[in-house]
Symmetry: D2
Subunit: 269 residues, 4 copies
């Protein structure tokens, strides 16, 4: 599947990496992908469907972690083929790179794992594109070394860098928009994750909180400063989502949000 | 002089609060005011001229602090009258409110002092508009109490709130753009200070550093998320400015920057 | 009154700066001073009585701010004379330095105001000792410049530096114990404020929160790394204190705490 | 090998987890272990020898990562048997748990990986003790869930929790000593990592910096607030160490440091 953009640039529309958090079922994945595809097609926005086959770093041991890796990966592949969209999923250990690569177009490195050399190398070796999330403890400038780890294994690799905020005390994250131009300087497309950057970590309950009312604020600022893409998790009914429900955008708000963002994008082209 | 906006709103152009940092001389003040006035008039951007008559919290005892309070205030007044622009200056102790009020249209409360009840009250009592800078240690939401302190003394007071970043470790500030909508919810115009939010405090040298290449990034994000105004310090030659030179925008870059920002503003109206 | 220590040193017992937050009444001030004096005399710990005549930076406009400046200052003076202990109070604008100096032995500069050159100079000019609280936005190393501002006005001034934590996100402070040796390097006694360093600022309610159960943790670490003095606010019944009740040590726990701390102090002498 | 302490307690001497960072050679490992063993035996301090068989998250792709996993693990085992000391090494992916377990007594979970459920579970399943480093983005209180993940797989598992500081801006870490009593409340031994908590991450050079002069400050504070153990990396000549040299304690300073710390420990027993 053809992927949007190979370097950071501001001469084209931004692209959207979106989907539910975890793959919960085929029906739900199709419902979400179909609706996003309709919206993005009508607006000329390139779309990459995102779904996790496993949640590997939930706060609590008894949180939902998935429906089974291969089952979820097959749903991802079917979504990609049925809707003709590229897909992305996150991997957590190096052995998962080869497992997941046949099913998706982009392998995503979670933020906590962005310094794990073996994982970056394994992802690179598959030949897939690699989307590296910037750790909550990392500067944008330091992500240069993560890009180099991937390129070292596969100089042709398409690498994306995604910001999802930085630790700001224990219970909050802050998005430092200086990181977007810093990361774009490495000649890779840069993405703003408007979902996880609004998490409220380290809650006493063991359930990460969120602030979905601020998704629009984060997204607008990202587009204005030149993000090449946005990462948004969305769900027809976030209150029943099995993970990250506190931060998801209700699916029926996506179109209105993208319309506002496209106007800003056009203003900076 | 008529001041722009009495509440936060997104149906009009943003306004610009700009000038040099300290008033260094009448010639320089006129040069800067004249150029900004030309630019903003041609673009329909309301303009408030800013100048400090005294720098009261320089890091080091031997830093430049001013040319004399009354001398500087008279220059501010002349600039206002000559160019027909409202003016703003910062005050540091409550007795300065009555001293400075006859010369300017807006009294500004420095960020470190935004919780000093006596200072806020004294500013309110003059009847002048009050621009409160958010402390580097304050959330946007907590600025509600600062607004209330002013309104308690003068319920008719026009209050502005300005963000200039939050402490992020010792040597850096981060701008949390969530604060702009949070502060706008108090029904006051909100301003992004694109100069001081890029300071690098706590440098071993005792000279605060900066990152002027990122002014555009901060300004664009601010406009995109709905800032009513921008605060920018500018100088024909920042390298010889007597304070804050490390963060100032070269005056000849102002017009190009504002043109980009106006496009973003129009995209969100 | 003779003040403890003129430079940072580890060959003597630590000293205690303690009292209520605000001076609420003469009876309460005497009750607290008497009890602390008994305890510290029996343990050979030098004691400085602390009381505020005015609270100038309460979060909310309707918070308690004092019983009247001169009335409170006279109580402070009487406490000093009656119990033969030096006293300390905080000032907020430069004009207060001359007002407060005749009543106390030490003038304290609040943390938010630690960069206000005029205030530091005015305190220095009184000839009183000056206790500068490190701003929540300051490194220990940067306090060198605050010390220099005082010494510039009065080279003989006795200066204390007090740490009270650094901003850590919006709703929390963290104590960075690296700051104590950094500040001691300026040849001034360094103090750990075990009360305000446990504040929880920026609460939605406008009432700063606290964690008094952790006072012992902060105090023990401070003594172990060589603090010359401790600052502790205490009250017979913190739940009815008119300010900072959320962080005060119950007066009847002071003796037990000091006993533990003295053992650690002796271990490092 | 018998391990020190199964719960957090203050009635016994602290224990020491120490060694070089990476296993560079058998000779060096023996030299370091022998010297530490002499010192700790003479002082009655339980000792666990630490060595990494692989550095998996170096900043740069061309940094030293190890001499070979099994070769290094065999050296670790020989050190344990020769000096009769328990040993600890860190693992990075779940498959490494079973690989490393036969060679060491404690499996250590790196800070970046402390939320990876599979890794914690795999470590637990080996029956080895598990030392979990608190992530730079985690509160002490949130480590409860990490302990639960291990105990869920192996209710009998001996779990240690180690603090190594929290992100404080991009280029610095701060140690929040409130976390030690918070983690001790989970009834596990708590350890202060005096080496990595002084790192300076996100350096432009890609080489993490350090502040070894402050090791004593961090260690003293930790002992004073009740740490059960200390983690210290040491090297006969830190300037030639192949990783983390910027933060290591010169081996010839270890004895003097421990003597000071033992006095503080005795003062709080």
């Amino acid at each position: 599947m053809s992927l949007p953009y190979t370097t950071s640039q501001d001469k084209v529309p931004f692209f959207l990496m979106a989907g539910s958090c975890a793959i919960e079922s085929k029906d739900l994945a199709y419902e979400i992908a179909e609706r996003i595809k309709q919206i993005t097609d009508s607006m000329g926005i390139p779309f990459i469907f995102k779904g996790s086959y496993r949640k590997a770093n939930r706060t609590k041991i008894d949180s939902f972690t998935g429906i089974g890796d291969i089952l979820a990966l097959e749903i991802l592949k079917e979504v990609g083929q049925h809707f003709q969209v590229p897909t992305v999923t996150d991997i957590h250990e190096s052995a998962e790179a080869a497992m997941a690569a046949p099913y998706v177009d982009v392998l995503q490195i979670p933020a906590f794992l962005c310094r794990q050399t073996d994982l970056l190398a394994a992802a690179a070796q598959t030949g897939r594109a690699v989307n590296i999330k910037k750790g909550q403890f990392m500067s944008g400038a330091s992500m240069k070394f993560a890009v180099e780890k991937v390129k070292h294994e596969n100089p042709e690799a398409l690498v994306y860098l995604t910001d999802r905020g930085n630790s700001f005390g224990y219970g909050d994250l802050v998005v430092d928009f200086r990181n977007l131009p810093e990361m774009a300087a490495f000649q890779v497309p840069v993405i703003m994750d408007c979902t996880h950057s609004l998490q409220r970590p380290n809650q006493g309950s063991g359930i990460t909180g969120g602030q979905p009312a601020l998704i629009e604020t984060i997204a607008k600022a990202a587009i204005a400063v030149g993000a090449d893409g946005l990462f948004i998790e969305t769900h027809p009914n976030p209150s029943i989502a099995k993970s990250d429900g506190a931060n998801m955008l209700p699916l029926d708000q996506l179109e209105g949000l993208l319309e506002k963002l496209m106007k800003i994008r056009e203003a900076i082209l």
